[in-house]
């Protein structure tokens, strides 16, 4: 039975004195894809970057409210953010492979966790590359530097890298904004496949993409959650005028 794997309760975020998120209440069902849309500066990136606490790295960043992951507040003293990030994977806007071999990129997650068994790592490399449909393209060149791959391949490698350590939630911060349409289509297909095993939250500027890949859609505006609902509902009959104005392009 589907349950809320992740929930934010009155989440407020600040950079210095500037409030970016103004009390977001959102719940994410497991094994669903939720798209977060909204104009630039609406706080959608800040929102998903708060979920794996990667924003904690930014000085002056501050959070209020709760983020509940698997029934536990992620800011609880007992929660190790390093541990959290293993369970909540992330793929970023621009492909950011490490300047190392394809193999090492994926093996990194294991190395830092002290897993040295070559058999395990080999299997995971193959497995995750197969998941992202990159295996056939690179299986003979695993020692090649990842930066020599095309942009779309790099991004799929980043997906594979995140999947290798088997997270429960996958955060995607505009994963297709810097790559070509063919690769975008491949990644959208991938997201569809991954839904079976992961809970996915995707931030996107591309509304068609949100409509294509997601089950639920949340619309953010100026740090507030304006509307949340099933994607088909949002795109045929949004309830809020602001949502409608945004998705039909009448915004501003």
């Amino acid at each position: 039975m589907a349950k809320n794997i992740l929930e934010t309760q009155d989440l407020k975020a600040y950079f210095g004195n500037k409030q970016i998120l103004k009390g977001i209440n959102l719940a994410f069902l497991s094994n669903t894809v939720t798209a977060i849309i909204g104009p630039s500066g609406c706080g959608k990136s800040t929102f998903i970057r708060s979920i794996n606490r990667i924003n904690d790295l930014i000085p002056n960043f501050r959070i209020e409210g709760n983020i509940i992951f698997n029934d536990q507040d992620i800011h609880d003293k007992n929660v190790d953010e390093v541990d959290l990030r293993r369970k909540v994977g992330m793929v970023f806007q621009r492909p950011n492979p490490f300047p190392k071999s394809i193999y090492d990129n994926i093996a990194y997650g294991f190395n830092i966790y002290g897993i040295k068994d070559k058999y395990t790592i080999d299997a995971a490399v193959e497995n995750s590359l197969k998941k992202v449909a990159l295996w056939e393209e690179v299986k003979n060149n695993l020692s090649q530097n990842a930066l020599t791959l095309s942009g779309g391949q790099q991004q799929r490698l980043c997906f594979a890298r995140a999947l290798a350590i088997e997270p429960e939630v996958l955060l995607l911060d505009e994963p297709c904004s810097a790559i070509d349409p063919i690769s975008t289509a491949k990644i959208e297909e991938l997201i569809h496949q991954l839904k079976k095993n992961y809970t996915i939250i995707i931030v996107t500027h591309n509304m068609q993409q949100a409509a294509r890949v997601s089950d639920y859609t949340a619309f953010f505006l100026l740090g507030e959650l304006i509307e949340f609902g099933k994607t088909d509902g949002i795109f045929t009959a949004p309830k809020d005028k602001r949502t409608e104005a945004y998705i039909t392009g009448r915004f501003g």
Binding site: M207, A211, F235, T236, T243, E244, I247, T248, G249
Partner: protein, 221 residues
């Protein structure tokens, strides 16, 4: 913000209203020809139908283009898809006007069985319903559309009256009157069908405006 899409939508709206006006004219012409038993007017209606068919095809094509090229969402999406359905019903209404005209041709050369009273009444209802439906489309007025839907029962009732009268007073009593009574019976039916299609249009308009599906649930209105 001004959008290029708005231009397309306005054009679509204008085309649909033109089509609506043509359909309205077909209805009034066919009824006019019935009243005067003027065959030339009835023929005009039949010719006009061809134009309306072409118009339907053109509007449908425009809608398909918009869907694939502009990928409209929300209110725009509802507008385009509902326009497609409205043209379909409008075309059917035009077909019914043609049917009426064909009945008029069958009746030509013979005097009316009796002075026409209820059929013009039904015609007025049908014409008013279509006019209001088109007005509610222009103004995106869901309330007016709801009134249109409610008026359909009145039309049904009137058709039943006409049917009953024609059967009881003429067909049953005088078998000679059958050839003149049956076309009238059918015309009443056609008019009532026009009201049904208009009801459909009104339902589409309500979905277009309020994103509420009222079809097959008119009791909820």
């Amino acid at each position: 913000m001004e959008r290029h899409l708005d231009e397309n939508l306005t054009e679509l709206k204008t085309n649909l209203l033109n089509m609506g006006a043509m359909v309205q004219k077909c209805i009034s012409d066919s009824i006019e020809s019935l009243k005067t038993l003027d065959t030339s007017k009835a023929k005009e209606v039949i010719e006009c139908d061809e134009k309306i068919d072409k118009c339907e095809l053109k509007i449908d094509e425009q809608c398909l283009d918009l869907l694939v090229l502009k990928q409209p969402v929300a209110v725009d999406f509802r507008f385009v898809t509902m326009v497609m359905k409205i043209t379909n019903d409008l075309e059917r209404i035009a077909d019914l006007a043609v049917d009426i005209s064909e009945r008029v041709l069958e009746l030509s050369g013979k005097p009316h069985l009796k002075p026409l009273i209820d059929i013009p009444k039904l015609t007025v209802i049908a014409q008013k319903m279509l006019e209001d439906a088109l007005t509610s489309f222009i103004n995106q007025d869901a309330e007016l559309a709801k009134e249109v839907i409610l008026r359909d029962t009145e039309a049904n009732h009137l058709r039943d009256l006409i049917q009953e009268e024609l059967i009881k007073d003429f067909i049953v009593k005088d078998s000679n009157s059958v050839t003149r009574a049956i076309p009238l019976l059918l015309i009443a039916r056609h008019l009532e069908r026009i009201c049904d299609h208009t009801t459909n249009i009104a339902e589409y308009i309500i979905y277009m405006v309020e994103a509420k599906i009222v079809k097959h649930r008119s009791s909820e209105l």
